[in-house]
Symmetry: C2
Subunit: 252 residues, 2 copies
Amino acid sequence: MITSQRNPRVAAAKKLRRSRVRRETGRTTIEGPFLLEEAVRAGVAVHEAFCLAGDQSSMELCAATGIDTHVVAANVMEGLSETAQPRGPVAVIEIPTAGPIRPVDSIVLWEVADPGNAGTIIRTAAAFGFQVVATVDSVDLWSPKVVRAAVGSHFQVGPIEGAATDPETLSSLGLRLVAMAPDGEVSLREAAADGASLGFIVGNEARGIPASVRQHPAVVTAAISMPGGTESLNAAVTAAIAMYERMQAAQA
Amino acid sequence: MITSQRNPRVAAAKKLRRSRVRRETGRTTIEGPFLLEEAVRAGVAVHEAFCLAGDQSSMELCAATGIDTHVVAANVMEGLSETAQPRGPVAVIEIPTAGPIRPVDSIVLWEVADPGNAGTIIRTAAAFGFQVVATVDSVDLWSPKVVRAAVGSHFQVGPIEGAATDPETLSSLGLRLVAMAPDGEVSLREAAADGASLGFIVGNEARGIPASVRQHPAVVTAAISMPGGTESLNAAVTAAIAMYERMQAAQA
């Protein structure tokens, strides 16, 4: 049993909290039996798992799937975990290689910063069958917080990170870009009826979508009508309504 | 300047973090100039505000609105604040008295537990002009986390807490109850076309809506079709899509 936070394997896993380390190693950590099962089911490479001493069910899960497993003391699990009541298992996985951007209905995260929003968008995209693309300045989609908020949908969606903040490039890949903005020129319903593959752009929580993007000739801006009088919807809510409307238009 | 966390006013404000104390006193705390301005604009009684020493703009805001203001040291503000980088002001407000449940389009939070979800639902309800009703076992809607996630929409929406977990009662108040469930008997679009005032029920994040509610004769269950294959949407996303669809049906 590992009882020290300074154990090299533990220390290496803890470093994966840092975005830079995740990018350098191509690894991240996931927590809890549900995410681990989803990762295994999706064929993701699991390098090792840390189970709390006495957590028989996690140890059985790891044994059944042939994962290299380390039993750790409660204090070590607390160091590895990002949750308030850490139960583990915490597993080190290989971040799946994302494919190229395809010309299919997509949500484009434009500098979205909140991990909860990004995770909820990935979860919703899994439900509606959307591709997820994030620009370089968005939150790291494989951070443990984002993965937790998406409850396993990462493995299904395979979100694509690091896209250029340049409408030209995305447009040339076959996406008709629709920037979601409260003052949009067309209604969401109208935009969603378009026959092309759509890329709904959702902006940063504080700054929205840059004017240079909204005004780009390859971009149409679309609004969700809000009779209540406020002009503000959460980024994940905006993305969800756009995906829902598009899905309804496709089924009509 | 208050430099001790044990100052009686500071100690009393800190106690408002507890749900029980909020209910007993009818008060809560809000944080940041934006929420304070929204509260003042809405005519909410502000009992006092704590401003960080040197935070001239907050002190001017409080002075302009005649709020009893206390200057506090950084360590005191840290104790009062729930955010990572506390800047204040932190204000003690009277929780506005909610009106009775009206027969208008509503979101009913059925044991919704996550503060972020509850706050996002209140924010979305403000945008779409919906009434918000929460059953007794839902998260406390005036907790600082919920208020923060709703970015000021509480003052506009006036959410109603403590509703009975009994479809009969809600139904008798004039709401046609629509329980949002992945296996719903009708589509959301169909349910949203109903002419009556609708009460969309959104369930607990882990348990969903109790079978006794879903099967109640006063309740129809409605599903959001999800071609992506997963059967799971976040509670705030489900509520937002229901409100959006209803708003579109009303405008059609």
